[in-house]
Symmetry: C2
Subunit: 578 residues, 2 copies
């Protein structure tokens, strides 16, 4: 059975444990949540000695299941104060799983603050390597240096933002080109890693035992159904929407819907949206050639391949990936409508170690606060670069949107539970607003992506303006928790929501791997068990239904072009977990 | 009957209202709490249009009752997110009351941000005067300018910190010398005033109707008992502890007890305590002569006269007042042991418009975070002066201790509900820790001053290390709420807790003024009604018992010299309002 690797940064020890009963069932987000729920004092300081950083591959990560390379990172969030799971693509998940590890639990604070370590994990065990020589370096350089030293390894690391314990610091995972493009960005878990003196984790799965499959026949049946479903659906198939245009295929769609937050959520439509759209990315990549790519995978075994590599005008590598959320946050939300600008801003976030969604919101808030003008791309780059210096201004920006708003006296703050909103306007798409409000994670689209039926007519079709969607949001939140535990990329939801055999395939592959008797009807039930632990943690940390609310300005400030407010009742919000 | 003055900063109107039934009973904190509870959305942004600033004299303010010149300021706190009442001495209370006003409610945000107003209130009504010419100025200069323009008026105002909506901004009230020495400091209500574009309020009570007394005989009997009691007790009598040494008489006492927080709460004893003690203030004032004073009143009619004027070496005015809390926070907690340094730091806080308790904690946290060294008084002055400039560093410092800790990655943060602790170590004096944890206001000694029996043997005598004090804290919190509603200075508690006729006198004077039949047994009951509204507001704002906790480090970090932790159980904490 897969082991737990428990790492203590105080005495620099690492020991393997058989998972106790309470963790035995869980993978991915299920594991990070269960460990945080059982082992972390909910009222502790997230950067103090009582918090833990938990890392886990999903149930089927490291197997032949398609598009299943997500790594979950969890603990108590220094950004939100809630429990947190944030997952990333890249190389880590599969390698951790193939080393026979169910998860890694990092505990304790270093005896000598200011001393940095790299944890190296191989089939022979875990060792602590001094990392003072890579401390302070950006993640692009760190990935390069660690690959030179350790070969074809998975790398998990933090940039200067995490070292400084800034609460918008994410955790980076290297990708197929060994660049720093994959982030468990949301919720500041990079600061938790930084608090523990851990600059990087290097995983070499050479000679590892691999992932046991309890029922190979069922597993194979399931993964094939999943693959077929993925290859059939218009959104996920080869040369389909995601493969051709990446996630930024959503730009024109949301802009058309009037739900594309612009200039710090003061409008739902951006006049330069087309210039930062998936179509523009595709055209730019083709025009410039060179190292540019669309339809690019972030980890081996992905058959959706929604990633891209954005090239500089001369065709050389600029950044991977121009994601919908990133071109929105660092683009439209800041009034910036140029892909070379968003590319550079994303590169800066990736290198310094910041979540792009929060960083874009933060710059937009700084623009509203008068620090720079909307649309000032060069100013935005300077502002992000400031974070690296550790200056007072950099520390403000590096602590995210709510923090920056308080520094500057800005009151239009699109955040829930301390975390800024992603790229969907809740005054136009009401279901996603319910998810933002009630998610265990703060404002987070991935925790219950009702955009699928509300905007994309996936998994049914519902009016975005309709306000009775507690059940819809709950169903999405529960299903998502299951998917986040599986290691499957959430983008599989696009096809399995429409294709019943795909949904069956997901459950069968998981049930086959684990040896459970789960059917489709178990998905929401098992997902809800994860959510219940998360809600219980948050309740013990002091969160109540009063925290399950959108910021007040969205209830009285009308958003153009539809001139609507967020009018979902508190009663409806409270029904989600009522 | 006294009227309510309702001021709207959006359309610059002010109207007089008869108080509705739900407010009719209340004065002081009772009034500010009732209005906030009934009129402010608990989940609103404290600096947005839905918050209000409420100002009220106490029940007996403006009468002949001794030492009763407190003005209460209330609303939702931008520092803590809780309901907030903070009261100050100085001239405002009596003049507002004598104009026949029960309270002032300031609503709305200005149409033109960046435009500033002075509200002038006389017997003829309220007018709005442009204040752009005094915007940006410190409160010492503002007091001078407004007195030149308006004569012997009460002045309520904010410094640059409040204008910038920094969440450690307090509200200043001028004092008997028309200097900027009296602050409703705690909880950032200066930022609420700033959000409303209100730089100052000028109150001229010439020709005002005065305060009605329902039962003059009972009132006179009560106030005389109060005065006699005040003049009899060792702490409050003429040439007694407070009159001779000011509140800083506590320095040596708490230091001796090992409960004097030093260098950001890393020790309970300060080797230079004697140099910033009340005894040292008294000696310094006598030695330097000139404008120096001890036994000085902050408002007419005070018979305790605990204030002082600290002179410069040449005898000229430096600052009023070197208060216990201020010499502790800006002294011991920063490792600074010199009264000229604390005097200058207090002057800077008073001028810029910052709460001294929070400001000292903030500097101490910055010292722990490495921005400057403990004991660096010149560095501390520069850091405070930075707030005035609006620089990023200034905005960090001006937002208080929790904010600064997050900017710098400091985890030893002595705060509850976002507000830093006053000058008593809860690991040594457990009852005050219970008050800090459970107060409706965040960490606040004045909300339930169990120091009286725990350290001073006033109102009984209890062991400071004993942990079963939920009842004690509750009794003090309820009694305090009553006193805060009365307009009486809380220092009256010292004598009325020991002298039964004093306690009777307080109730009789209030009952006489209001025409109620209250007796001593009503004090805690009426106080509890105020607390219930405050708890209900906080609960609706999202606060739970998980917020009624001290920071985790105090439960595992032993404090020298006693090497004790805060070991009051959560069950005991929850009993206070259980």
């Amino acid at each position: 059975m897969a082991k737990i690797l428990r790492v203590n940064m105080t005495d620099l020890t690492a020991k393997y444990e058989d998972p106790p009963e309470k963790y035995a069932l869980w993978g991915g987000r299920g594991f990070t949540t269960a460990v945080t729920y059982h082992e972390v004092l909910p009222t502790c300081h997230p950067l103090g000695p009582l918090n833990k950083l938990v890392i886990a591959p999903g149930w089927v990560s490291g197997t032949a299941a398609p598009t299943s390379g997500r790594t979950s990172f969890g603990g108590k969030s220094p950004l939100t104060g809630t429990i947190k799971e944030s997952n990333a693509g890249g190389l880590a998940s599969q390698k951790i799983a193939r080393l026979g590890l169910k998860g890694i639990i990092v505990e304790g604070l270093p005896k000598e603050p200011g001393k940095w370590w790299t944890l190296k994990i191989t089939k022979d065990g875990a060792t602590f390597l001094p990392a003072d020589d890579i401390a302070g370096k950006g993640m692009y350089e760190v990935c390069k240096i660690l690959a030179e030293r350790h070969g074809k390894v998975a790398i998990i690391g933090i940039g200067p933002a995490g070292e400084m314990k800034l609460t918008n610091a994410g955790i980076c995972v290297n990708d197929t080109e060994n660049t720093a493009g994959r982030y468990a960005g949301r919720g500041g878990l990079g600061a938790v890693m930084g608090s523990k003196g851990l600059k990087a984790i290097v995983i070499d799965d050479t000679g590892g035992p691999g992932v046991p499959i309890a029922n190979k026949e069922l597993f194979d049946q399931g993964r094939k159904k999943m693959a077929d479903s993925s290859r059939e659906h218009a959104i996920t198939k080869k040369d389909g929407a995601l493969n051709s245009y990446g996630t930024a295929v959503l730009v024109n769609i949301l802009n058309e819907a009037g739900g594309f937050p612009t200039r710090n959520f003061s409008s739902g439509r951006f006049e330069l949206a087309a210039q930062i759209s998936g179509e523009a990315i595709n055209a730019g990549v083709k025009e410039r050639g060179g190292e540019g790519r669309v339809g690019h995978p972030c980890h081996p075994g992905c058959i959706i391949q929604c990633s891209n590599i954005w090239p500089k005008p001369d065709g050389s590598f600029h950044v991977s990936v121009q994601e919908y959320e990133s071109v929105w946050s660092l683009g439209a939300d800041c009034g910036i409508g140029n892909l070379d600008d968003t590319g550079e801003l994303i590169w800066l976030c990736n290198d310094i170690g910041l979540d792009t969604i929060e960083a874009g919101n933060t710059i937009a808030i700084a623009m509203e606060g008068g620090l720079l003008k909307f649309g000032d791309a060069e100013g935005a780059k300077k502002l992000l670069a400031e974070v690296r210096t550790g200056s007072p201004l950099g520390r403000i920006i590096g602590n995210g949107g709510v923090f920056t708003a308080r520094a500057l006296g800005v009151t239009r703050v699109p955040a829930v539970k301390g975390q800024c909103m992603p790229a969907y306007e809740p005054r136009v798409v009401k279901g996603i607003g319910i998810t933002y409000a009630t998610s265990t994670m703060g404002a987070d689209h991935t925790s219950g992506y009702t955009i699928a039926p509300e905007i994309l007519a996936v998994g049914g079709k519902v009016d975005p303006f309709a306000v009775s969607k507690a059940d819809l949001s709950q169903a999405f939140q529960a299903t998502t928790a299951f998917i986040d535990a599986s290691g499957y990329c959430l983008f599989n939801a696009f096809h399995i929501l429409d294709i019943p055999s795909g949904m069956e395939g997901m459950v069968e592959s998981v049930a086959g791997a684990l040896g459970t008797d789960w059917k489709v009807e178990h998905i929401a039930k098992v997902g809800m068990e994860i959510l219940k632990m998360e809600r219980a943690f948050n309740e013990a940390a002091g969160f109540t239904k009063a925290d399950d609310r959108l910021p007040d300005f969205m209830t009285y400030e009308k958003l153009p072009p539809h001139n609507t407010v967020f009018d979902v009742s508190n009663e409806e919000l409270d029904k989600v977990y009522g």
